[in-house]
C-alpha cells in the first residue's frame, strides 16, 4: 500500500511519515520493478507534491511539500536504477555494504590507504596478469615507447572484463527472481541466503567495474 501523502477528505498535502522507498510508491519490496509504472507514478506524484504547486500556500504546507517532494525524488532516483535499488534493499534488510562502496574506493585512492578488498577467486589469475600489463603500459608511456602487442593484450582483457560485467548483472537478476518469490513465501533462512548471494554478486561486480575503469584510465 502506498504511503499516505494527502489528506483523504480535503486532498491537502500531509507531513511525511518515515517509510521506506518501496512503500512511498506503494510497491511491494520486490526487485523486479516495472520502471515505466514507476516513472508514471513519479510524474503523477510530482504534479501534486512539488514546491511549485505550493508557492502560494502557507509556511506549513510549503515545508511539508518540500520534505515530501525531496523524499519522492530520493525514492525515485534510488528505485529506478537497478543497482541502487538492490543496494537499497540490502540496506533495508540490514546488510552493510560499506567496504565495496564507491566512497570507500575513492577514499582509498585519494589517501593512498590500502582498501580492504578481496579479489574474487575466479579472477585472481586474470587480474594478476592484467596488473602486470598495465604496469608495463604506464612505464612505456613515460618512455614514449609504443607496443601494439601489449595494447592488444590489454584490449582483449578489457573485453573479457566487460563480458564478465554483463554476466554478473544477469547473475544478479537471477537472484532478484529468487528474492521476489521468497518475499511471498520463503523462509527467513532462504531470504538470508539470497541477500548474501546478492551482496557477493554486487561486490564482484564493483570489483570488475573498478578494473575496467583502471584500464580505461591507463589507455587514455
Amino acid at each position: 500500500m502506498r504511503a499516505v501523502h494527502f489528506c483523504s477528505s480535503c486532498g491537502k498535502v500531509q507531513p511525511p511519515v518515515p517509510v521506506d522507498y518501496f512503500t512511498f510508491f506503494g510497491f511491494p519490496r520486490k526487485l523486479n520493478l516495472d520502471t515505466a509504472a514507476l516513472e508514471k507514478e513519479f510524474y503523477v506524484l510530482s504534479r501534486r507534491l512539488h514546491p511549485d504547486v505550493f508557492a502560494q500556500a502557507d509556511t506549513r504546507e510549503r515545508s511539508w511539500s518540500l520534505e515530501q517532494s525531496s523524499m519522492l525524488n530520493d525514492a525515485y532516483r534510488t528505485l529506478k536504477d537497478p543497482i541502487k535499488r538492490t543496494e537499497y534493499l540490502l540496506r533495508l534488510e540490514g546488510v552493510e555494504l560499506e567496504e565495496q562502496s564507491k566512497q570507500a574506493t575513492e577514499k582509498a585512492r585519494a589517501t593512498g590507504e590500502l582498501k580492504k578488498q578481496v579479489v574474487p577467486p575466479d579472477l585472481l589469475e586474470e587480474v594478476f596478469e592484467l596488473n602486470l600489463h598495465l604496469e608495463e603500459l604506464r612505464d612505456q608511456k613515460e618512455t614514449g615507447e609504443d607496443d601494439p602487442a601489449l595494447l592488444e593484450e590489454i584490449g582483449k582483457a578489457k573485453l573479457s572484463l566487460e563480458e564478465k560485467f554483463e554476466a554478473l548483472f544477469n547473475e544478479l537478476k537471477t537472484e532478484w527472481n529468487k528474492w521476489d518469490k521468497a518475499v511471498e513465501g520463503g523462509t527467513e533462512e532462504d531470504r538470508h541466503k539470497i541477500l548474501d548471494k546478492m551482496l557477493d554478486v554486487l561486490n564482484r561486480r564493483n570489483y570488475v567495474r573498478n578494473l575496467v575503469r583502471d584500464v580505461n584510465e591507463a589507455l587514455e
Partner: protein, 637 residues
C-alpha cells in the same frame, strides 16, 4: 486593489531583462527608453546619484572608475578565487577588505558588495515593471546559470532581497529557456539547451513529457562567455597599439582608452556575425587614432580556444544523461554569443543537427522566467499542466577523515533532494561537532568548493561514540542547501551555527536592506506617483461615462465649463513628465469637488428610474462620477 504581479527576471552578466505573462504569452517589459535590454552596468554620476542600464554606459568611457559592469562574475566568490577576473576586468577592490569578508568593489568613493550592485540592477527592473503596470511589484522569479554553486545562488537571492523583491524561485537559465520553447512547441522529446551568454556557459538536457520539463543532466562553466572573446580582442588591440611606433603610446593604463577599445571590439564582434570583415576605429588620447580590420577568418581563429571549452561540458552532460547525440530531438540556442556562426557550427557538429534558432537568444531566458512566475502564481489555463523538475549541477559532499570528500547527493539529482548522515562524538562529554560541507566533483576536500562550516552545538554530554546525531542535508527547489540536525538518543534538536564560507550573513543582508532605505524616499515618491496616476485614470474614465448621462445636461453652463477646465488640467498634470504627485492629487481633489453635483443628479436619475420600475442602468451607479468620490488619499507608512 492592485493585482499582485509576479515578474520573471533574467539577471545577466551583460544585459538584464524583466518579463511577465500577458494572457497566454510571455512578453518583455521595456524600460522608460523603450528598450527591452537593460545593460547590467551601474555608475555613480557627479552628484553620486546611482545610474543603471543604458544611461550608465557612457560613464564606462567617461569616468570608468565610477562605473562597473559584469558584476555577475563576482557573485558568491571570495577574494582568492577572483584573481583571474581582476587581471581581465577593471574591478577595483575596496582597499580595506579583510580576510574572509565578502568582496566589496569601489565605484567612485563608495564601496558595494556584488549582491548590492546586482540589487541596483534588479531595482531598476522592478521600477521598469512598476512603471509599466502602474502598480507596485514585490515578487519575482530570477534566473541563474544552471552551473551556479550554492554561494552564487545565495548571493543572487540576497540581491533580490536587498532590491525589495521576494524571490519566489531561482530558476536555471537553460531550463527557463526550455519553458519558453516548450510553451510554444508543445512537443514531447529530448531537447538540449546550449546557453552561451556574456559571462557564463550552461548546457542542459531535458526530457519534455506532457508538460513536465524534466532536466536529466546539466553542466557548464560559470566563467566562460562573450566577455572572454572581448578580452582576447582587446588584448590584440592593446598589443597593436603598443607595438605601433607611429602611435608611440601605451594605453593599457588608461581606463578610458581600454573602454573605448572594448566598445569597438564588441561592435566588430557583432558585425562579424553577418559580414566577412569588420573595422576597428578608435579615438585614443592625444588625438591619435587606432584603426585596423578584423577578418572573419582571424576572428574565428582567435575565438576557437574559447568556444572549444564548451565541448567538454556538452560531452559530460550527454554521458551523464546516458544519451547519444542521435537521441536528441532538438537543440535550442540561448545567449547572445550563440549568434556567432562559428558557435552554431560547433553545436551542429556536436549534436549532429541544425540548432533551433526561432527564439530570440537575448530574451528567451526572461520569457521563460515569466512562464515560471505564472506557474508559481497559481497556474492560469495555459501553464497549469506545466511543471519544472530541475537538478542540482554539482555533487554535495562532506569532509571526512583524511581530507576526503564523501559525496552525499550526486550531481544531476532531481531537486528537492536530501541525504541524511549520522555523526557521533570522539571524546567523552563532547558537546560540539564540526561539519564541513563541500560542493564539487573532486575527491579531495581541498579541491572542492567549501560551502559552509557547521557547528552542531548542544549535543548532550555522553561517553564518546554514544550520541547519534542525525543531520539532514536538503537541497531545495532553488538549488540552495538547508541543514537540520537532531540528537537521536535525547531527541534534542542540535543548534546549527552556519558559517557560510563565501557570502553574506542574514544580518548583513538585513543591514543592506536598511541602508537601501537611503533610497526609500525616492521609492516612496515613485510609488505615490504611480498610485496618483492610477486614481486620476479612474476618475477621468468615470467622468467620461458621466458626460453621456442625462444628468450632465442638467448642469449649468458654468458648472460644465468648470468641470471641463479641471478635467483638462488633471489630464495635463497626469501626463506631464515632472512626476509631481502633489499636483496630480490636487487635480483629483478639485475635479472630485466639481463633479459632486453631477454625481448627485445621476444618483437621483438612477433612483427615479428605478422607482418608475424601469431597469436601472447599473453601470451608471457603479462607474459614474461617484465612483471617484469614495477614493480616499492613499495611505503610506
Amino acid at each position: 486593489m492592485a493585482t499582485d504581479y509576479i515578474v520573471g527576471i533574467d539577471l545577466g552578466t551583460t544585459n538584464s531583462l524583466v518579463a511577465y505573462m500577458q494572457g497566454d504569452s510571455p512578453v518583455v517589459i521595456p524600460g522608460e527608453d523603450g528598450l527591452n535590454l537593460v545593460p547590467s552596468v551601474v555608475a555613480l554620476d557627479e552628484k553620486n546619484q546611482i545610474i543603471v542600464g543604458n544611461a550608465a554606459r557612457r560613464y564606462l568611457i567617461e569616468t570608468p572608475e565610477r562605473a562597473v559592469y559584469s558584476i555577475k562574475r563576482l557573485m558568491g566568490r571570495g577574494v582568492e578565487d577572483i584573481q583571474d577576473e581582476l587581471k581581465l576586468f577593471p574591478f577595483q577592490l575596496a582597499e580595506d577588505l579583510h580576510e574572509g569578508e565578502v568582496l566589496r568593489i569601489k565605484i567612485g568613493e563608495r564601496t558595494y558588495t556584488p549582491p548590492e550592485i546586482s540589487a541596483l540592477v534588479l531595482r531598476q527592473l522592478k521600477r521598469n515593471a512598476e512603471r509599466f503596470f502602474g502598480a507596485p511589484v514585490s515578487q519575482a522569479v530570477i534566473t541563474v546559470p544552471a552551473y551556479f554553486n550554492d554561494a552564487q545562488r545565495q548571493a543572487t537571492k540576497d540581491a533580490g532581497r536587498i532590491a525589495g523583491l521576494n524571490v519566489l524561485r531561482l530558476v536555471n537559465e537553460p531550463t527557463a529557456a526550455s519553458l519558453a520553447y516548450g510553451l510554444e512547441k508543445k512537443k514531447n522529446g529530448i531537447i538540449v539547451v546550449y546557453d552561451l551568454g556574456g559571462g557564463t556557459f550552461d548546457i542542459s538536457i531535458l526530457k519534455l513529457h506532457d508538460g513536465i520539463f524534466e532536466v536529466i543532466a546539466t553542466n557548464g562553466d560559470t566563467h566562460l562567455g562573450g566577455d572572454d572573446i572581448d578580452n582576447l580582442l582587446i588584448a590584440i588591440a592593446l598589443d597593436d597599439i603598443r607595438g605601433d611606433l607611429g602611435l608611440g603610446i601605451d594605453v593599457r593604463r588608461s581606463g578610458e582608452a581600454v573602454q573605448r577599445i572594448r566598445q569597438a571590439v564588441i561592435e566588430a564582434k557583432i558585425a562579424l556575425s553577418s559580414q566577412p570583415t569588420a573595422k576597428l576605429d578608435v579615438d585614443l588620447p592625444g588625438g591619435k587614432k587606432y584603426q585596423r580590420e578584423i577578418s572573419l577568418e582571424m576572428f574565428e581563429q582567435v575565438i576557437q580556444p574559447i568556444i572549444d571549452r564548451t565541448v567538454g561540458p556538452c560531452k559530460q552532460a550527454l554521458k551523464d544523461a546516458g544519451l547519444k547525440p542521435e537521441q536528441i530531438d532538438e537543440v535550442v540556442l540561448v545567449g547572445g554569443s550563440t549568434r556567432i556562426p562559428k558557435v552554431r557550427r560547433l553545436v551542429q557538429d556536436l549534436f549532429g543537427r541544425v540548432p533551433h534558432t526561432d527564439l530570440n537568444p537575448d530574451e528567451v531566458v526572461a520569457l521563460g522566467a515569466a512562464v515560471q512566475a505564472n506557474i508559481l502564481g497559481g497556474a492560469s489555463e495555459i501553464t497549469k499542466e506545466m511543471l519544472l523538475l530541475d537538478v542540482t549541477p554539482l555533487s554535495l559532499g562532506i569532509e571526512v577523515a583524511g581530507g576526503v570528500t564523501d559525496k552525499i547527493i550526486l550531481r544531476n539529482s532531481t531537486i528537492p533532494a536530501s541525504a541524511t548522515q549520522y555523526y557521533t562524538t570522539q571524546v567523552d562529554g563532547q558537546t560540539n561537532v564540526a561539519i564541513h560541507v563541500l560542493q564539487g566533483e573532486r575527491e579531495l576536500a581541498r579541491d572542492c568548493r567549501s560551502l559552509a562550516r557547521f557547528d552542531l552545538k548542544g549535543v548532550p554530554p555522553m561517553p564518546a561514540g554514544m550520541p547519534r546525531i542525525e543531520v539532514k542535508f536538503l537541497i531545495d527547489a532553488n538549488g540552495i542547501l538547508r541543514v537540520s540536525a537532531r540528537e537521536q538518543r535525547s531527541g534534542q534538536e542540535a543548534e546549527i551555527d552556519v558559517q557560510p564560507s563565501y557570502g553574506l550573513t542574514d544580518e548583513q543582508v538585513e543591514n543592506m536592506l536598511l541602508e537601501s532605505f537611503d533610497y526609500a524616499e525616492e521609492d516612496f515618491r515613485q510609488r505615490q506617483v504611480i498610485e496618483a496616476r492610477r486614481e486620476a485614470e479612474t476618475i477621468l474614465t468615470a467622468l467620461a461615462k458621466g458626460k453621456k448621462n442625462q444628468a450632465w445636461q442638467e448642469l449649468s453652463n458654468d458648472e460644465r465649463r468648470n468641470v471641463e477646465t479641471l478635467e483638462k488640467a488633471l489630464v495635463a498634470v497626469k501626463d506631464g513628465n515632472n512626476d509631481d504627485y502633489h499636483a496630480i492629487r490636487a487635480g483629483i481633489d478639485a475635479l472630485n469637488e466639481a463633479t459632486m453635483r453631477l454625481a448627485e443628479l445621476m444618483m437621483d436619475t438612477a433612483v427615479s428610474t428605478a422607482l418608475k420600475g424601469k431597469a436601472m442602468d447599473s453601470t451608471d451607479l457603479e462607474e459614474g462620477p461617484q465612483a471617484g468620490h469614495p477614493v480616499a488619499k492613499a495611505d503610506f507608512e
